[in-house]
C-alpha cells in the first residue's frame, strides 16, 4: 500500500486550492461539526431555492483529507436538488466503506467525479471520518434548511 493511494494529486490540489471556501450570505441553515477524536472542525452553510442547493459555503480547519473532501463536495452538490446531493453523499459513504475495493470506485466514478479520488482513504479506517465530516455537515444543514431542524 502506497501513501500516494490516499494522497492523490487531485486531493492535494483541492487541499491547496479549495473550491467555494468562505462563509457566504444569504443562507438558510448553518451547522458546525467537529471530529472529536482529532479536533477537525467545519462550519457549513446551505442556501436552498425550492429544492435546489444554490450555495454551500464553509470554513474549516483540519487535515488535508477533511479539507479536500469539503472542496470536492462543493463541486459535486452545487445546483443539485437536495435529494440528489444527499444521494451523492450516500454514494460517497459507500466509497468510504469499500476498504479500497477498486470495483466500488469504478462503479461510482461517474457520480462522484473528483471525489472518487478518496477511494484510497477507505483503506485507512482512522481517516474515513476526516473525509466524511463535511458530508455529515451537509446532510445536517440540508435537513435543517429543507425540513426544519434535523430529526
Amino acid at each position: 500500500m502506497k501513501l500516494q493511494d490516499m494522497y492523490q494529486e487531485i486531493i492535494l490540489d483541492h487541499y491547496r486550492n479549495p473550491h467555494g471556501r468562505g462563509l457566504r450570505e444569504p443562507f438558510d441553515a448553518e451547522v458546525h461539526h467537529v471530529n472529536p477524536t482529532c479536533g477537525d472542525e467545519v462550519t457549513l452553510r446551505v442556501k436552498v431555492d425550492g429544492d435546489t442547493l444554490t450555495d454551500v459555503s464553509y470554513e474549516g480547519m483540519g487535515c488535508s483529507i477533511s479539507q479536500a473532501s469539503v472542496s470536492a463536495m462543493y463541486d459535486l452538490v452545487i445546483g443539485k436538488s437536495v435529494q440528489d446531493a444527499l444521494a451523492t453523499g450516500d454514494d460517497f459513504m459507500k466509497l468510504m466503506q469499500a476498504k479500497g475495493d477498486q470495483s466500488v470506485a469504478d462503479e461510482l466514478e461517474d457520480t462522484l467525479e473528483d471525489a472518487v479520488a478518496f477511494a484510497g482513504v477507505s483503506k485507512y479506517p482512522a481517516r474515513i471520518k476526516c473525509a466524511l465530516m463535511s458530508w455529515m455537515a451537509l446532510k445536517d444543514a440540508s435537513a435543517r434548511a429543507w425540513g426544519g431542524p434535523a430529526a
Partner: protein, 442 residues
C-alpha cells in the same frame, strides 16, 4: 534533570538502558508494519507495549491459579487471593505506599471518577463519618489548564452536580504551569486540588511541592495524576506528600483494564464508596448495608485479577531496570530528539524546549502540514505516533494550534527510533512540498 541539559543535543549520550536487550523482551517489536517496515513505536504515552514477562504472568495466572479472589475456600480461591494481595503489595512498594492504601480500578480515568463521585456521594451519605469530604456550594475545586480530559471533565461534572466552583491554574507561553496566582486560585474556599505530574501533551512536569504545600495550608486535599509520571520516573508517595496518586497499568508495560488509586489511609477511610455491590460490603440486610474498610470498600465485584498480576510483573520488570535509569534513558532521548526536531526548519515544539523539569512527551507541529498528515506519512515509514488534541483540547487551544503530532519514548526506545522520526518528518515535508518553509503561504 539539569545534569545533561547543557549538552548540545547533537551528540548522543550513552543510553542508560541496553536497548537491544530490552527490545528482545517485547514480542510485538519483532513485527513489521506497512509493507515490511520496522515498527518504530513512539506512542507509549497512549499505551505501552508489553514485555513477555507481563504476558507470561497473566498466562501463568489463568493456567494455574484462576479463581475469584476473596471468595470461596477452595485451594484455587486461596491461591488467587494470595496472588492478588501479593500483587497489591508489589504495587504499593513500587510507589512507596502501604498495601491497604492501594485500590485497583479499571484505569486512571476510573480512579479519578471514583474520587469525584465519592466526594459528591459524601454530601448525601447517611453515615456522619462519610460526610467529611462533602463538596458543595461555596466550595472550590482547582485543576490546571494542562490536564488530560480525564483529570478535568470529572471535576467539571462534580462541580455541576454539587454547585461547587471549578477554578484553574493557567499556562505560560513556554509551556509551563503559571503559578503567579497560586495563592488566590487556591484559597480558604478550596476543598480539592488536582494536578498532573507530567503533562501528556507538553511533557511539562509542574512544580508540585508549592502546589501541595499551598493546598494543605488551606486544608484542601490534593490528587496527583501520575498516568504519565509513574511509568517514567521514580515516584514515592511519602516524598510527594499528596493525598491521592492515580495511574494506569497499561501505560507502564502492564495490561489494559487495571489502574491504581493510591490514597492516604485516613483519607480513604473517611470516603463513601463509588461503585457498590459484592465484596465491598461488611453486612447486608434488606433495609441497608454497611461497608468494608479500604481498599475493599472501593473494589466492588470480582476484580481484574489476571491484569493485577500482570501489572505487578510490569512493576517488577521496571524495578529490575531501575526507575532512575528509565528516567535518565528517556531524558537522554528527549534531549536528542528536541535538538534534532528543532533543527528542521518549520518544526515548532509545543511545550518546553529543554529537558528541565520535562518528561519525554514531545508535541510538535510542522509548518504547512496538518498534524494528521504528518502522522500519516510517519505511519507509512513504520513510525507510530499520536496525532490530534491528545485528550487535552484546552492545551492545543491555548497554544493556537488545531492539533499536534506527538512522540513519546519508553524503555525500548533508542536513538535509531528518534532518527526514524526525524527522517520521517523531513520526508513528510518533501512529500507535501513544504521542505522550503519560507515559501509556504502564511
Amino acid at each position: 534533570m539539569t545534569a545533561t541539559a547543557s549538552r548540545s543535543g547533537t551528540e548522543r549520550a550513552p543510553l542508560p538502558l541496553d536497548v537491544e536487550a530490552v527490545r528482545a523482551d517485547f514480542p510485538i517489536l519483532g513485527r513489521t508494519v506497512r509493507d515490511g517496515k520496522r515498527l518504530v513505536y513512539l506512542d507509549s504515552g497512549a499505551t505501552s507495549q508489553k514485555p513477555r514477562q507481563v504476558l507470561d504472568a497473566e498466562r501463568w495466572f489463568y493456567e494455574n491459579v484462576n479463581a475469584a479472589p476473596h471468595r470461596g475456600a477452595h485451594a484455587l480461591a486461596e491461591e488467587a487471593t494470595e496472588a492478588y494481595e501479593a500483587a497489591r503489595a508489589t504495587i504499593a512498594s513500587f510507589i512507596g505506599g502501604q498495601p491497604d492504601e492501594v485500590v485497583f480500578t479499571r484505569n486512571t480515568t476510573e480512579a479519578i471518577n471514583l474520587v469525584a463521585y465519592s466526594f459528591s456521594n459524601a454530601a448525601t451519605a447517611k453515615e456522619p463519618e462519610f460526610r467529611r469530604y462533602a463538596v458543595g456550594q461555596g466550595d472550590e475545586v482547582v485543576v490546571t489548564e494542562m490536564e488530560h480530559h480525564a483529570n478535568l471533565v470529572p471535576w467539571q461534572q462534580l462541580c455541576e452536580r454539587t454547585g461547587a466552583t471549578l477554578r484553574w491554574l493557567g499556562l505560560t507561553d513556554d509551556g509551563r504551569l503559571d503559578l503567579s496566582d497560586l495563592d488566590t486560585v487556591i484559597n480558604e474556599r478550596t476543598k480539592f486540588v488536582t494536578v498532573t505530574q507530567q503533562s501528556n501533551i507538553l511533557g511539562t512536569m509542574p512544580p508540585l511541592a508549592p502546589i501541595i504545600a499551598r493546598a494543605h495550608e488551606v486544608g484542601a486535599l490534593v490528587m496527583v495524576d501520575g498516568a504519565q509520571s509513574v511509568p517514567h520516573q521514580p515516584v514515592d508517595v511519602a516524598a510527594l506528600g499528596a493525598d491521592f496518586l492515580v495511574f494506569s497499568g497499561h501505560k507502564m508495560l502492564g495490561p489494559t483494564g487495571v489502574g491504581v488509586l493510591w490514597g492516604r489511609a485516613e483519607v480513604l477511610d473517611a470516603m463513601p464508596p463509588f461503585l457498590t455491590g459484592g465484596s465491598m460490603i461488611e453486612v447486608v440486610r434488606m433495609e441497608g448495608s454497611t461497608f468494608a474498610p479500604p481498599p475493599q470498600r472501593f473494589e466492588a465485584g470480582v476484580p481484574m485479577t489476571a491484569q493485577v498480576i500482570g501489572l505487578a510483573a510490569a512493576a517488577d520488570y521496571l524495578t529490575a531496570l531501575g526507575m532512575d535509569k528509565v528516567q535518565a534513558h528517556e531524558e537522554a532521548l528527549t534531549e536528542y530528539a528536541l535538538a534534532q526536531l528543532q533543527a528542521i526548519p518549520g518544526v515548532r515544539v509545543i511545550g518546553p524546549v529543554d529537558t528541565v523539569a520535562r518528561g519525554g512527551a514531545i508535541s510538535f507541529t510542522v509548518e504547512g502540514i496538518h498534524p494528521h498528515d504528518v502522522g500519516q506519512v510517519l505511519d507509512d515509514q513504520g513510525v507510530a505516533v499520536r496525532v490530534g488534541h491528545h485528550c487535552a483540547w484546552p492545551v492545543v487551544r491555548r497554544y493556537g494550534v488545531p492539533a499536534t503530532t506527538r512522540a513519546t519514548f519508553y524503555v525500548h526506545t533508542g536513538y535509531d527510533d528518534v532518527d526514524a522520526l526525524v527522517e520521517g518528518v523531513r520526508h513528510a515535508q518533501r512529500f507535501f512540498g513544504v521542505d522550503t518553509p519560507q515559501e509556504v503561504p502564511q
